[in-house]
């Protein structure tokens, strides 16, 4: 009976077992609680707005995930199955640590901690951005595979820690609940360079390196962008071209690469042939 009440498509709801129903109900209620606390933006939604609401998810490369302080998945958007092959309803309510690489769990735990800033810093840093390995059951051909034989996929997770402050709603016995922090993340897959689905534009060039970042191959587009000929760069370490202030960040990214397998850097500056940074 409860399953019927859940706002799920009928095909799904009828096939859920009791534990899942419970799980999903709890998560759903939690979500509702969290969302009602946000200030409702009083905007008139145009026709277009409503139509396009559905396209948000589609436009995103990755999926949206909302985590509680302990790592329980409160909400997961549907497109997780495009990205990871796992179904939304299988994961909701479970702990996210079941699906992430054991070595990354420590990092994830740190991310979940919401430190309220001291009086001096009024704004605590709520941004989070990190790489996470999650179980992926998609094979390269696009078929899904059993969870037990899942491979790891690297996701770039970025988001914020928001706090749900129930000061506006109090329970009837007058107890005030403590503010609950939760983490909202958008997880994008890191695009593999060999994936040619998305065409590279002229401002992008490809290069290949050895493990210590020496160039072994470079696309010729680099010539117009930075002035170098590919032959100039061969066998030179790319660290020679990074801006000094960015080298710290890039070194960390390099480390991450070895740990996780895939990584995307942020913006950084690279030396052009005739001086100046690009």
């Amino acid at each position: 009976e409860l399953a019927q009440q859940l706002p799920l498509p009928h095909s799904v709801s009828s096939s859920l077992d009791k534990a899942s129903i419970m799980r999903l109900t709890i998560s759903y209620l939690r979500m509702r609680k969290l969302l009602t606390s946000d200030e409702p933006v009083a905007e008139e939604e145009t026709e277009l707005d409503i139509q396009l609401n559905s396209s948000y998810l589609k436009a995103l490369d990755g999926f949206l995930i909302v985590l509680s302080e302990d790592g329980d998945i409160i909400y997961l958007s549907e497109n997780v199955n495009k990205c990871l092959g796992l179904a939304q309803f299988d994961l909701t309510g479970h702990s996210v640590f079941d699906f992430t690489h054991p070595c990354d769990q420590e990092e994830l735990r740190e991310m979940l901690i919401h430190r309220t800033g001291s009086k001096k810093t009024k704004e605590s840093n709520t941004e989070r951005s990190f790489f996470l390995r999650m179980k992926c059951t998609l094979t390269s051909r696009g078929r899904t595979v059993n969870v037990k034989s899942a491979t790891w996929k690297v996701l770039h997770c970025s988001g914020h820690v928001r706090v749900y402050d129930p000061h506006t709603e109090q329970t009837t016995n007058g107890l005030k609940e403590p503010p609950v922090p939760y983490l909202v993340l958008i997880c994008d897959p890191v695009p593999h360079p060999s994936n040619i689905e998305v065409p590279l534009d002229t401002k992008t060039f490809l290069s290949r390196h050895t493990m210590d970042m020496k160039f072994t191959y470079c696309d010729e587009r680099i010539t117009e962008l930075m002035g170098y000929d590919p032959e100039d760069l061969l066998n030179r370490s790319v660290y020679e071209y990074y801006h000094a202030l960015d080298s710290d960040h890039l070194t960390k990214t390099h480390h991450n690469l070895f740990v996780k397998g895939q990584v995307s850097t942020g913006q950084y500056r690279m030396l052009a042939k005739r001086g100046g940074f690009v």
Binding site: P7, M22, I26, N53, A59, R162, S194, T202, G266, Q267
Partner: protein, 632 residues
């Protein structure tokens, strides 16, 4: 076997309430009796929930009243569940050992879930007792129904499959995860067809202003080519070649690939820079020159990570004109979610805020420094030891004396922090630095007397032309020295009064001391000389009382001033330093050296006064000086 007894013991208690089984019998027989009754009920129901659940409910003794609440039908429903678990366990005890544990785990899990669920439902919260599972479930169902009927109304949307979260909530979530907005641009002319409301938060432009404009107006000029390519349709840009990253060779761009670029669902992902206005709400500035470059202050660019897909609409829906002449009757657009790029390795400082230099000083009642922060040296040029013991009034600019003295008076009487106005403080090299301070007096809680004044001083940045003005002012003031006596209210003024830096402080302090004395012990011997002393002559008596009182309350400073006076005496003859134009002769009658007076000048004056006092001692005030340790 032990665990069986535990479990059965548990629900035997429960059963005893439901059935007229005598509880006085031993546990074992009760157990057996319970089993029998269960078996009787066996045919009534099929097992709804797993065996584990029934055990779970049995484990909660406080739920005894629960079933009674719900109604008579409950026992019938609950029993079969219990029965099943029990029967199972009883029958295959030795094989079911791990099975029992699995059951237990499932049970516990269900219990936890039920608990969580009850915590979620508002109806369940006020009740302090734990509710029975079914009740919780029923309430959950009711709650969900209520939510459905509520304002969210997501379920009325028949077009889309009902998802666990309605669409606009999803949008809110997305926005809280990343600062982003939805952007729909037409592929042919890059016209902005649609923007979500959140763009105003990110780019500081309102939605209405941007809709309908060309996207290229808002993109950094260098990114225009890139965006053009991303929007491009069937013809590939001549330079754009697909490169097979595995082999490094170029892949022939054949027609299937080309067509797919434009088809619905083709994805795009890129980074671009878009203009954003720094001033939120100020829309007028945006109008002129949308192509301004990066350097302009009013336009800044922020890097956005745009991901999206192509989508085409039949033009009839959009209602746009001018689409008829296109070959395809569809309007193809790129639907993108643009997010502020979260991963910028170097942060460009937007507003560099410099913390202004602050330093703390402490001074005695009369304004003499007793402690000076080391940071003060960077501001005022003097080392701490150079200013200790000198009155702060020596460094204040003449113009500021008035309000500073007033503040001094105020702070001695009040317990709050008082902020002074800006004033100029003389530095070692003769120039002035603008400061603003907060003064706060510290009172000894036992004696209730003000012990010292703490001053937290902040440098106010000054313009470059300042120093010249100050110097000019200084020289002017020097000339006016002998002529003008700054009038400080409350202090004895008049031609005959010596108003010099140190005196201001001490006089103010004295007023306070007087008020203490009046309050505490009006007939103390020390106070008597003040009366006649003040009447006697403004010149001498203030100094007397000042020095006396200052000696009495701060022994340290007295010895210091004494030694200062000695050194001053020695130096007075050889004086010829810092401030030019300073009167070389100490004119007792109207010597005004506020703020400009040098170290030696002050002390020289002091020395003279003390020597005068000496002569006065014989005029009847000798008594008070017995405790003064004068080396004369």
């Amino acid at each position: 076997m032990k665990s069986i007894i535990q479990h059965t013991g548990g629900f035997s208690l429960r059963l005893s309430l439901l059935f007229p089984i005598p509880t006085t019998t031993a546990g074992g027989s009760t157990c057996a009796a319970a089993l029998r009754s269960l078996q009787r009920a066996h045919r009534l129901q099929s097992v709804g929930m797993s065996a584990g659940d029934s055990e779970g409910t049995a484990d909660r003794p406080e739920e005894d009243e629960g079933p009674k609440q719900v109604g008579p039908s409950l026992p019938a429903v609950e029993l079969p569940r219990k029965r099943k678990g029990d029967v199972e366990e009883r029958s295959d005890a030795h094989v079911q050992e791990p099975h029992r544990q699995i059951e237990k785990r499932r049970r516990d899990k269900m219990n936890n879930l039920i608990d969580e669920l009850s915590a979620m439902i508002p109806a369940c919260q006020p009740l302090t007792r734990r509710l029975d599972k079914l009740t919780v479930l029923r309430k959950a169902v009711q709650h969900l129904k209520a939510l459905k009927a509520g304002p969210s109304g997501a379920f009325t949307d028949t077009n889309h499959k009902p998802s666990i979260l309605p669409q606009d909530d999803l949008r809110h979530l997305l926005l809280s995860a990343a600062d982003g907005f939805l952007l729909v641009v037409s592929c042919d002319r890059a016209k902005i067809v649609f923007l979500s409301e959140s763009v105003s938060k990110i780019l500081n432009f309102s939605r209405l202003e941007l809709t309908g404009q060309s996207l290229f107006d808002f993109i950094h000029p260098k990114d225009i080519n890139k965006v053009k390519e991303q929007l491009s349709s069937s013809e590939l840009h001549p330079r754009q070649r697909l490169i097979d990253a595995a082999t490094g060779s170029q892949v022939q761009a054949d027609s299937p690939v080309r067509a797919s670029n434009l088809s619905t669902g083709a994805r795009r992902a890129f980074f671009c820079r878009m203009k954003h206005s720094r001033l939120a709400g100020n829309h007028e500035e945006k109008r002129p020159m949308p192509n301004s470059f990066k350097k302009k202050d009013s336009y800044r660019y922020c890097t956005l990570h745009c991901t999206g897909y192509m989508r085409s609409w039949p033009s009839s829906q959009m209602g746009l004109e001018g689409e008829a002449e296109k070959e395809t009757s569809c309007l193809t657009c790129l639907v993108m979610v643009c997010r502020l790029h979260p991963h910028v390795s170097h942060h460009q400082p937007k507003d560099i805020t410099i913390k202004s230099t602050e330093f703390v000083t402490r001074c005695a009642l009369d304004g003499k420094f007793t402690f000076v922060d080391q940071q003060a040296t960077t501001v005022i040029g003097y080392l701490p030891q150079e200013v200790l013991g000198t009155s702060c009034y020596e460094y204040f600019h003449q113009d500021d004396l008035q309000h500073l003295a007033e503040t001094h008076r105020q702070v001695l009487r009040s317990k709050e922090k008082i902020e002074t106005q800006r004033y100029k403080f003389k530095t070692k090299h003769g120039s002035y630095v603008s400061l603003q301070s907060q003064w706060f007096s510290f009172t000894n809680p036992w004696t209730k007397e003000v012990e010292f004044i703490v001053s937290s001083n902040r440098v106010i940045s000054r313009g470059p032309g300042h120093t010249k003005d100050e110097e000019a002012g200084v020289s002017k003031a020097l000339q006016e020295d002998t002529k003008q006596i700054p009038i400080i209210p409350g202090l004895s003024s008049g031609l005959g009064t010596m108003i010099y830096a140190g005196s201001i402080g001490t006089q103010i302090a004295n007023e306070l001391i007087d008020s203490y004395r009046m309050n505490s012990s009006p007939s103390s011997g020390a106070s008597s000389p003040f009366g006649p002393a003040q009447e006697k002559g403004p010149l001498v008596s203030p100094q007397t009382s000042r020095s006396a009182s200052s000696r009495e309350d701060t022994a340290g400073s007295s010895s210091q001033s004494q030694s200062d006076s000695r050194t001053a005496e020695g130096m007075s003859s050889a004086t010829s330093e810092s401030t030019a134009g300073e009167p070389s002769q100490l004119d007792l009658d109207n010597m005004v050296v506020p703020g400009l007076s040098s170290f030696s000048n002050d002390e020289a004056a002091m020395a003279v006064i003390l020597s005068l006092l000496e002569t006065d001692v014989n005029m009847g005030q000798s008594g008070q000086f017995e405790d003064l340790h004068w080396p004369f």
